[in-house]
Symmetry: none
Subunit: 226 residues, 4 copies
DNA sequence: TATGAATGAGTCTTCATTCAT
DNA sequence: AATGAATGAAGACTCATTCAT
């Protein structure tokens, strides 16, 4: 899961055991961030990873670095999945559906970003993550184009719409009962995306990817003075 | 905003100034929770409310009490809006649309609940909030029934579906640019809800309100051992 | 119990209701000091006394004043008892025994003094309490003299010995001068343990270890409702 | 003083410096608890021990843990002394005298327990301390038996009597069952005051009232810098 | 290099005391 | 005069980060 794509750029590859440590730490961080949010105690993460805090700090100089690493790892995995979907599915619509349904990895990242304004700021400021995001959106754009060319996707929406909607779905629960509920909602949305239904004139113009902010959503950040 | 509905029930009414302070504190908490999450420093909240920390603590014995109070206040307002929608709109569909579009108050509450596992637990454990939620869902159920009777809402969905979907929309951004994006997504969803489109067979049975968990969503709570 | 001897000197006598308030406060303070020590929250004392904190503070400008008042009240009562003992008992020995046995009031005061160095400093610095103490010791001196004249009390001890021993019922001092005093008292007690003295039939049966509670003593834990 | 007997049982031995710190903290706590009671600021204790608060809290998760540790340490030392007394003294009576005279360590513990209801509860609830107490009482029982067999100790008292009396050197209980125990001890002490017993030459001269400090005792008030 | 001990700044919370009603 | 609300300083405790072992 924690492929070398997310390794510190420009660094020589880690020794096998160091690599193992690094991966354990990232996995521990994923689990604990998901459970407690990105402000969870560093020591708890270290404990779960089976290393001392010192080791954690050797690998990730501070919390931000760790958050960044988790985000990169997640986005990398999401990208891998997206590529597979675009490549393997026979129709654009199927690729789109698979994309929307399967990106658990991305889900965690976005949830992470959402969870705390602090984490959000960290991720927002990371070039590498932004690059991964861009690749992801590029793939999405391709899929959307294909689906529309096929006639399977209404043409009054853009990839940005899909990304925005997707980000709204991200708070997808992990417990199975809720999963089923969410699945239905997704179907409804998908139905809404099918062509031929003009009951409503969508407001505004089709959104382009470029019109959607980083990660396709913005966390609640009203100026503190509001 | 902070109507007396959310006042401590059964307690003697607060002195005028105390009441004013209480309201200011809740408003400050709303703003700061939204901006920084429910772990924001108490002192910052007090400062924004224009009172000393001591005053804050006299009114709300601890952070949980404050979170609870904010949640109650928000739900109370959401309920008020919902009642107005159900009463004033002429068609069930219009009431439904208004409900889904306008509940900013509820949005904050759910965002609050989502934001941190801790806050979620607090809200989940509060009977009063649960009661408010139930009333809200009851109203929703009525509106859904009316809309379906009118033929304006597909009959293969239930109020629970709507609640679930709604909760997915909750991460509605506050900044205006994002607002417009979200608006489109909402339209798409609404389209998806219109009758006559059977392109997709929805999985499972129509969800009833009772099948949807508290607040219609579950926060990320994977077993710590995952 | 809270006789006017302990009233603020030089003040005009309080109005009846104010007097009642004052007494209630002192009694509440006694109970709570005994249960929680002299650092108990002022508000708790006020609540127990059935008044607001404001009232408490009107009567006793700060905690020290309250401690002082309690100490005076206790010493006053002890003095009353001592006078009664000296007057009513037919022999010096009996008076002495009664004195040592009955001074519960004094015990509270001393316990109070012991309980926290802070309280001790307060009491030590109070002239009125010192005066009461002196009167008490004077009475003790008289009783001791009488008992010795009777031949019922060994003549190689003085009233100071008795006082010291009495105080040892409470705690052993750390400073060397006091140590020597305590040593004498200990010798006397040891004498009391030597065989062949059956002047007194000990009440009850010999105690076994198992009959003695944890740490051989029980802390002041009167039910909070006392 | 802080022998490893009082080290956290079952834990891996502390690193040398950690061990040193631990001991320093306990010693500082002893001194400061004695001087200010068990509610003294943790930071003051840390400062006196020459460590940061963080270190104190790493070693003792909260105040209760520290109180417990001090109590255990004191009881352990008391036990050591008692064992030495029982072993090294040639007569039971001498052992008893030495026991009663030398248990300064125990005194602190009991004073600690007495001082604040809170501390008392902590100590009472600690199994380890209770175990140490039991060993202590067992030794006392042996010594008492020996002394009685020698004919040097009246046979109508038990080890429980001695323990009770000893504890009375500290404070008189309020509950009626304990009262009766105390009564016996008081009788014994009174016996010790009866004339005609010259077994012991009292040290020093008869004390006059003027030689006894305010309230006949002084609280532990070593200069904070001691 | 890995570990876990030490530090101290940051927060929460309590409570004595003051003051408006 | 009585009440209870407001204040803020004091102290407990947590945890990110640094550093000795």
């Amino acid at each position: 899961m924690n492929s070398d794509i997310s390794a510190p750029e420009g660094e020589l590859p880690l020794r096998a055991d160091a690599r193992r440590n690094r991966d354990q730490i990232i996995n521990a961080a994923k689990a604990i961030f998901a459970a407690e949010g990105p402000d969870a105690p560093m020591e708890e993460i270290a404990r779960r990873a089976g290393v001392g805090v010192g080791t954690l700090y050797r690998r990730f100089p501070d919390r931000e670095a760790l958050i960044r690493a988790v985000a990169r790892d997640n986005f990398t995995n999401a990208l891998t999945h997206a590529q597979a979907a675009a490549t393997e599915e026979t129709t654009g619509w199927n690729a789109l559906v698979r994309l929307l349904k399967s990106s658990d990895e991305l889900q965690l990242s976005v949830r992470l970003g959402m969870t705390s304004p602090r984490a959000w700021d960290v991720v927002k400021g990371d070039q590498v993550t932004q690059g991964l995001r861009d690749s992801l959106l590029e793939i999405l754009e391709g899929v959307v184009g294909t689906a529309q060319a096929e006639g399977s996707l209404r043409t009054d929406v853009g990839a940005g719409d899909i990304a925005a909607m997707y980000s709204m779905l991200l708070r997808r629960p992990t417990d199975p009962a809720q999963q089923r509920i969410a699945e239905r909602a997704l179907h409804i949305m998908l139905d809404g995306l099918r062509p031929h239904r003009h009951a409503t004139e969508l407001p505004g113009r089709p959104l382009q990817v470029s019109e959607v902010h980083p990660l396709s959503t913005a966390p609640a950040h009203p100026a503190p003075g509001t």
